[in-house]
Symmetry: C2
């Protein structure tokens, strides 16, 4: 089939397009209110389809939520990838005790949160307020992120002084701070306040890093 490039869409393409429209509409509609307070009809109206057409794509708001979890964590993994790339480029831990890695990571965080406000906001909200299955899915994804980060940290600390357990403990703390910072950034629109949030988390991570550099795991 010749790619005419313009208007004529195949049936599959068209279906994918309305599916996207549903996902986007949902993200927009629940910027403040959570999935559990969202009705199928609101979504349908926003998309511009009749309520029953919704069922052609998802069989409930809940399964829609699960799809959004996957999508949102793609964005979060993008962030992780950026941070990792950043850290490898700055592979000079002797100077300024990792300050550059911290600063770079925070910059990446701010950047990604701004670019995908919807996804990060979705995770932050539904993590505690969504339907149970959605909450569970998010917690599972976050644990995956922690594990992933832990293996990255192993390369930087050396396994002689850090047990696997302690690496996961540290990684978990980083993720906690990351999530909290994202939440704070999302809850403000004033640039000067955001500046302060960033400055605060920068100092927090530096305090923590002092401890990290001196930590010796007990076997």
């Amino acid at each position: 089939m010749i790619d005419t490039g313009a208007e004529p869409e195949s049936r599959a393409e068209r279906k994918l397009r309305t599916r996207r429209a549903i996902l986007d509409a949902t993200l927009e509609l629940c910027t403040d209110s959570s999935l559990t307070a969202l009705s199928l009809r609101q979504v349908a109206k926003q998309v511009g389809i009749v309520p029953t057409a919704f069922y052609r794509h998802f069989d409930s708001i809940e399964s829609l939520g699960l799809a959004l979890v996957e999508e949102s964590f793609d964005s979060l993994r993008d962030l992780f990838r950026d941070v990792r790339r950043n850290a490898q480029a700055d592979q000079d831990p002797s100077t300024s005790s990792g300050h550059r890695i911290v600063d770079g990571s925070i910059d990446a965080l701010v950047d990604h949160v701004h670019r995908r406000r919807d996804h990060f906001g979705f995770i932050a909200r539904e993590r505690v307020a969504g339907p149970r299955s959605v909450r569970d899915a998010i917690r599972r994804e976050i644990e995956l992120c922690e594990r992933e980060l832990a293996t990255d940290l192993a390369l930087m600390t050396g396994t002689d002084t850090w047990t696997a357990k302690d690496l996961h403990v540290l990684s978990s703390l980083f993720v906690t701070v990351l999530v909290a910072t994202a939440e704070q950034i999302l809850s403000t629109t004033r640039p000067e306040q955001e500046e302060q949030i960033v400055a605060t988390v920068r100092t927090q991570l530096r305090m923590l890093l002092i401890g990290v550099y001196q930590w010796r795991s007990e076997p």
Copy 2:
């Protein structure tokens, strides 16, 4: 007026009692789903009153939420009071670098979260998923807690090595970890998993404390 002690309630007492019933019913109904997904009629049914009677006590679910914010933060302040009492009793920072204070604080946290699951869960959920006014109220209260904790920390660190700003930065980090830990405890029912959560946060705070003991504020 003679206090008969038993059945006969004054009008004011009776009103307060249904008000309490409304607050309790709301806390119970939104253990999983958030205020924004809660209807006035559900609350009324749970309390055992007719929907319109709700308006005799609150003029919207939102203002009900604000009342619950106050109440929930009373519980959180109870926790803070316990932690403070604990820390003062263990005023022997030379030994084991504050491990006892950390352990005691975590124990108090776990204890209070268990006792007031409803309040802590409410804060955790509505903090990100509630109506805007509720979210704002919670954030304001949390900032108050951070300031309060910062002044407590000032007594333990000495203002010669710590600026007020850095104290608030540290206090903010503690509150972040506290909130995250409470969320984790609330999201599990298995005791062995809770044990692990506690062990993790204990290690995290010890790592952090190493950094804190060596921190010198830049002016």
